[in-house]
Amino acid sequence: MPLRTALRTAAVFAAILLSACAGRQPPQPDYDPWEPLNRKVFWFNDRLDNYVLEPVARGWDYVIPDAVQRALSNFFNNLRFPIIFPNDLLQGKPHKAAEEWARFQVNTFLGGAGFFDVAARFGLEPQDEDWGQTFGVWNISPGPYLVLPVFGPSSPRDAVGLACDAASGFYIYFTAFPWVSTGATGINVVNERSRQLDTVRNAKAASLDFYVFVRNAYVQHRWKQVNDAVSGGTPLEQEDLYNEEIYENYLEHGDTP
């Protein structure tokens, strides 16, 4: 498939470019040189969510029983197999890849085409892998925070990863029937949003600056997803995060702004 090849090539090039600033670093949740533009896109996404996605998801949540929502969520997660499996391998986790293989078989054939996560009951936990994480494991730094229109929080690394996810995902098999993949994506998005109604509402209520809240949470969460795979020991810490004395040093050095 030419699109797929093109995306793969783009990914490799981006990887080479970004590896210039690589190295294992602690998370940097405040690194945001594109903030003015990011904030505008974020605002646009937030409006879109407020006026379109959330109301639709609320209606969906009202009509569709929780069990059905869960089943749909399981179904779409099962279809992430072609993304998760190769990325387990590329991150050097053959054991996890084997587990994912087993999960896919069990859930597809015993779990009613994936609507029931039977595998989880056998201790085969759902996994969450993607190309962006693999690039991270390969020591490619994410680059600055980047808010994509519609898709939301990302980074140059994760944006390339997202394109690769799309290319290696399930939907490419339906390019001949675009309405199938469009419809399926729509249902998936609305369904997932309907399961996050309270979470998002609470997050908005909890934050004084929702933009910064999301940026910080995204950067930290992605960092953890990547570094879970890499280190089993004590993770790197964001600089001075637990240093109670920094305000004292600040006084000593007298470096007032």
């Binding site: 949740p29 003015p36 509402r201 609470n202 930290q220 969460h221 995060l241 637990y242 305000y247």
Partner: protein, 222 residues
């Protein structure tokens, strides 16, 4: 026992009996103080106390919140938490402002977390392991089991020892540190508007409580 004491009693023996009880009590409380709870015990105790309150159908949301607050206030070191959250900006606050920040921030967390009281759906807390960290801290790794409704949530508690007691100084949900998240939010606010601006915003947020404010449009030139 009371009766035997009464029958054999002279004032002298009664007095010595009281002295012995007083001594025993003093020793016991001293021993209790010396008997340190490990970080895992602190976190486990928190979960063990909070879950039954969440399950208790005879309590109103406000009553639950009040009880949980009392438990949380004992387990969390809000003074250290406030310092860590403000970091370099801590010295820009006068002692009065520091105290005000501490109480408003505490209130903010309480208001925020109480949203989750009504969403309780038989989740359980499982303590996984302890990990030693820099600065003598200890991280207790836990998992919130959601009984197949949704994926489990990994929550880490970071504790620091203060006066012989382990207290929570950060809560890290799926890799997202509360300290880091609030620090990021607050540093911009203090940089642009000073301590007063942050205190005003916190108070407004706390007063509005549950009501939601849509994100304001970005200011041009941001």
């Amino acid at each position: 026992m009371k009766r035997s004491m009464r029958t054999t009693s002279s004032t002298a023996t009664r007095r010595s009996a009281w002295a012995a009880i007083a001594l025993a009590l003093a020793l016991a409380s001293g021993a209790a103080r010396a008997e340190e709870r490990t970080p895992s015990q602190v976190v486990d105790g928190l979960a063990n106390q909070v879950v039954p309150i969440l399950q208790d159908k005879s309590l109103t949301t406000d009553q639950k919140r009040e009880r949980i607050e009392q438990i949380a206030y004992q387990a969390i070191d809000f003074n250290t938490l406030s310092k860590l959250v403000l970091a370099r900006n801590w010295t820009k606050f006068s002692p009065a402002q520091q105290a005000e920040f501490e109480s408003e921030f505490k209130r903010h967390l309480s208001v925020t977390y109480s949203h989750n009281i009504e969403n309780y759906n038989n989740e359980r807390v499982q303590i996984l392991s302890e990990r030693k960290e820099n600065r003598g801290d200890v991280t207790v790794q836990t998992k919130i089991l959601r009984g197949g409704h949704s994926a489990d949530v990994v929550v880490d508690y970071r504790l620091r020892e203060r006066d012989g007691q382990w207290k929570i100084i950060d809560i890290i949900v799926e890799g997202v540190s509360l300290v880091s998240n609030f620090r990021s939010q607050f540093q911009d606010i203090v940089a642009n508007g000073g301590p007063d601006r942050l205190l005003t915003l916190l108070k407004e947020k706390n007063a509005s409580g549950e009501t939601l404010v849509p994100t304001p449009p970005p200011q041009s030139g941001g």
